[in-house]
C-alpha cells in the first residue's frame, strides 16, 4: 500500500478524474478536475504533484495528467 504523500496525491488526482470526468467532453472533464483540485488542494500538494507529472506519467490517467499540466502552468 502506497503510504507516501506523492503516491496519495496521484491516486487522488486519478480518482477525481474518474469521478467527475465521466459523461462530459474531454475538455470539460479536464476543466472540472482543474477546478476541483484548485478549490480543495493546498498549494504544497499541487506543487508536489505538479513537479512529478512526468516522472509519474505511468501512474496518472490522461485526464488527470492534462489537468495537472494546466494547474502547473498557473502555479
Amino acid at each position: 500500500m502506497s503510504t507516501n504523500e506523492l503516491g496519495h496525491l496521484i491516486k487522488m488526482a486519478n480518482q477525481i478524474a474518474s469521478n467527475i470526468g465521466v459523461g462530459v467532453s474531454e475538455e470539460d472533464a479536464v476543466d472540472r478536475v482543474v477546478t476541483h483540485i484548485s478549490m480543495f488542494w493546498a498549494r504544497p500538494m499541487r506543487e508536489k504533484v505538479c513537479a512529478n507529472i512526468e516522472t509519474s506519467a505511468d501512474e496518472l490517467n490522461p485526464t488527470a495528467t492534462k489537468a495537472l499540466k494546466q494547474i502547473r502552468a498557473k502555479l
Partner: protein, 984 residues
Amino acid sequence: MLQRSDTINPDSTSFNQADSAAKIAEPQIFDPRTDLDPEMDYGTPAPTNDPTPISELITLSIDGTEVRVPKGTSVMRAATMAGINIPKLCATDSLEAFGSCRLCLVQIEGRRGFPASCTTPAEEGMEVKTQNEKVANLRRNVMEMYISDHPLDCLTCSANGDCELQDMAGVVGLRNVRYGYDGNNHLDAEKDTSNPYFTFDPSKCIVCSRCVRACEETQGTFALTISSRGFDSKVSPGQDQPFMDSECVSCGACVQVCPTATLSEKSIIDKGQPDHSVITTCAYCGVGCAFKADMKGDEVVRMTPWKGGKANRGHSCVKGRFAFGYATHGDRITSPMIRESIDQPWRKVSYEEAFTFAADRIKGIQKQYGRNSVGGITSSRCTNEETYLVQKLVRAAFGNNNVDTCARVCHSPTGFGLKTTFGESAGTQTFDSVEKTDVMMVIGANPTDAHPVFGSRMKKRLREGAKLIVVDPRSIDLVDGPHVKADYHLKLRPGTNVAFINAMAHVIVDEGLEAKESIAERCDVEAFEVWKKFISDKRHSPEETEQYSGIPAADIRAAARLYATGGNSAIYYGLGVTEHSQGSSMVMGIANLAMLTNNIGREGVGVNPLRGQNNVQGSCDMGSFPHELPGYRHISGQEVRDQFEKAWGVTLDSEPGYRITNMLDAAVEGTYKGLYVQGEDIAQSDPNTHHVEEALRNMECLIVQDIFLNETAKFAHVFLPGSSFLEKDGTFTNAERRISPVRKVMSPLGELSDWEVTLGLSKALGYEMHYNHPSEIMDEIASLTPTFANVSYDRLDKEGSLQWPCNDESPNGTPIMHIDEFTRGKGYFALTEYVPTEEKVTKRFPMLLTTGRILSQYNVGAQTRRTENSSWHGEDVLEIHPHDAEDRGINNGDKISLASRAGDTHLRALVTSRMQPGVVYTTFHHPESGANVITTDNSDWATNCPEYKVTAVQVSKVANAEESSEWQEKFAEFTKKQIAFLDV
C-alpha cells in the same frame, strides 16, 4: 400566533381565558408545540401536533371556566390548559391515556357516572365538574386502596419531594387507611439493582403501567410488560428477568414517567433531590437533545430530558440520560503540562508557561519549515464558539488555512454533495418532520444505536404505518424489531452504494415515475436532461447493477416504486453513505433521487444526514474546513476575505489549506511539524493507525487540548486541559441545523473553559483576541456569517433554540429548507458514475470489514468508557456470519485475528446472522481493539473522507486466547509508558 415563552402560565394565555382576551390581541392559530408550558404535565398528549386555527377550536366549560381546545383533546388536558389540575396517577402527557388509576374521575353534565377525564374527549358545550363531594370521596377511596399496599417510609424514601403518589394522597385529603396494612401486600418484593443507573423496587409499584407504556410508546423497545393478573400483576422486564438481562436499553423513559420511587436513579438515591436545574444540550450524538442538568450546588446529580427540547421532545438515551459521570472522573487532567519530547515525563506548569512553550515552538517550526508547516484541528465535540476560535487562530495567528475538523472523517461528503446539488451543506428538515413521513429510506445509518432518540421517533412513525426501506449490509435493529419491520431490506455489498442509488434513479426514470412538473419548475433543466440520458443507460439498470451490489433487481424496482409513489418519502443516511471512496457521489445521488421525485421542500420528506457527533454540523458551519470561511464561503473569494480581514485585522491566505489526511501525509514526509488539536483523538479515530502514529511521532510540536490523556495526547508535547460541556457556555448545532445553548453548570476543573485556553494560546502567538464571554464570540459569528445574522444568546434564551438560516429573511430560523427554491437557485442533477473502490477482496483478504457504532458507547469512547455504560459493551467484538465462522472453526467468543493489508489486531468473535456471508463488522470504541489498525488510507475522491466502511480482510482463529497482535502489544507497552509519565 401566541408568543412562545418557556415560563408561560396557561392561566394567563389569551386563548383559554375569555376575560383576558380584551387585554391581548386575539391569536389566529393555536400551536400546541409553542403555546403551552413545557414545564406542565397536561396529562394526555395533544391530539395533534399541528397548529389549529382558533376558529376551529371547540369550547367547553370546566368548573365554570370556559376553555377552548383543539378537537380530540381529553377533558383532563383541557382542564390543565385552563389551569385546573385534576388528580391523576397513571396519566402523563408523554403517553396515551390509559384510564387505569381511576383518580381522575369527573362529573359531566347530562352524563351518567364518573368518567375518567383522561380517556374522555372534550366536546363542544360540555360542562365538567372536577370537584364535588362525590368525586372527592371516590378519589379518597381509590387512594386508600393504593396506600394500603405501599410502604409508608416517605421520609426516608428516595422520591421524597418528587413523588406523585405522595402528592395525590395530599391532594385528595387521605387521612386514614381503614383496611390496615396487615393484608396481602407486595412490601417484601425484591429490589432489582442490576441496572447500573437505576433501581426497580416493586414494593413501591402501583402498577400504573406508565413504565410499560413509555417503553412501548416513547422508546419503542417493548422490554417491559405487566405479567400475571389481578393482585399478582407486576411490572416485568423481559420475561420476569432482571433489567440488565432483559431487552431494556436503559433509555430512562420508564424512570422518567414513574410516579413513585419504584424506578429511581441511583444518583438520586445516593444524593437526594436536586436543588435547582439548568437547561442545556447533550454533548453526545448529533440529535442534540435538550436536558435539564439537575443540580445540587455545583454537582450534577441527574440529567433529565427536557420536554421543551425541540429535537428530543422529552426523550433520552442511555448516553445522554445517564453517562455524564465522565465529567468528574479521576482520569481528568486539570493542569497544563509540557515536555521536550514524547520519551520524557510530563511536567505540570502554569497556563502561561504552557502557552509560551507552545507558541515558541510553533513560531520556531514556521521559521524553519515555512508558514504551511503547522495547523490545527477543531472538534465536533466542542462548541461553535470554540471551534470558531480555533479556526480563527489558525487563519490569523498561524497565517495559513491548515485547519480541519473531524467532520473530514465523517460527513465532509455531505457538505460537498449537498452544496453541489442543493446549494447548502446541510440537512433539509427538522426531526419533527418524520411525523409526516410516509416512506422512510434509511441508508447506511443505524439510528437505534447511533441516534437513539431519533430512532425512537422513527419507530413511532413506523408503528403508525409508515413504510420502511433499509439499505445496509447488516441487519440493523430497524429491519426487524418489535412492531417494526422493513418493507425492503436491500442488503448491498459494501462499496456499491453508488451502483445502488443509480439503479433506484434508473427505475424511476425508466418507469416514468419522475416528478416532471417540479423538475421543470425547480431544477436546472439542462443539467437534468444530461443526467437523464446518463441515468437511462442500461448499465445503471438494477438488472445490471445486481452483479455488483448483490441486491436482486426486483427488490430495487419495488423499493424505487415505493419511494417514488408512496407519498412523503424521506431519506435518512449516516456514515455508511459518506465513508466510502465515492461518499460524495453517493450524497449527490441521494439528492438527485429526492429532486427527481419532488421529495424536498416540505414536511415529511427531504434529505437527512444523521450527524455522528453533537456538533458536526456546527464545526462545519464555523469555517473548520481548510477551503472555506464560516458560512461555507470559499477562501478564494476576495469579498468574503475582505470582511474577515477587516474584522480580524489580518491578511488572510487565499489558498486552501491541508485537510487532516493531507496534514498527516505531509507530516510523514517531514514537511509538516506542528499541530494544535482541540477535543479530537485522531490517533484512535482516524484510519490506518500505523500511518497516523508515524505522522504524530514526526511532529515537533503537538498541542492537545482535551479532558483526558487521550491516544493522541500520548504523542503530544503540550497538554492543555479541556472542559466538559458542563463547564462552559456555548452552543451546539445538531443535525437539523438547530443551534441550542450549552450552559455552564459547574466551574471548569482546569480553571479555564476551552475558549479561554484558545485565547491564551493565541495571545502567546502574538495574535490577541478579546472576548469576555462566549456570547460575544457568537455576536462576531453572527456579524460575519449571513446564515447566522439573527442569532444571539438573548434570542436563544428566548426561543430555546434556532435553526439556521436565521437572518432578516427568516427571523425565526428555517425549519425546512428549499421550500420555494433551492439555495443555489435551481437544483442541480450531478452525474454520479459508479466507480468501484480499489479496495477489493483477494485470495489473501477474502472478506470485507465494515465498521460502526453501538448504542452504549460514543465514538472513541473517551467519555462513555469512563462511565457504567461499559457494562453493556466492555470490548469491541467482531461480528461474523455463522457460515464464515464455521468455515474458519470459529465459535462465539473465540479470539480471532483480523488482518488487512494495513495491519492486524485480535478481537473476540460474535457469531451472528445479522451479518451477511463475506462481510464482518466491528466498532472502534476501545483503543486497544485497534479497529483502525485495519482500515486503510483509501478515501472519498472529492473530500478525502476515509473509506472506513470497506476494507478487505481475513479472519482466522487465534490458538492462544490471551495472545495479542504485534500492534496491540506495542500499544499496551506505549500506553503503560505514557501513563507512567503522568505520575513523575
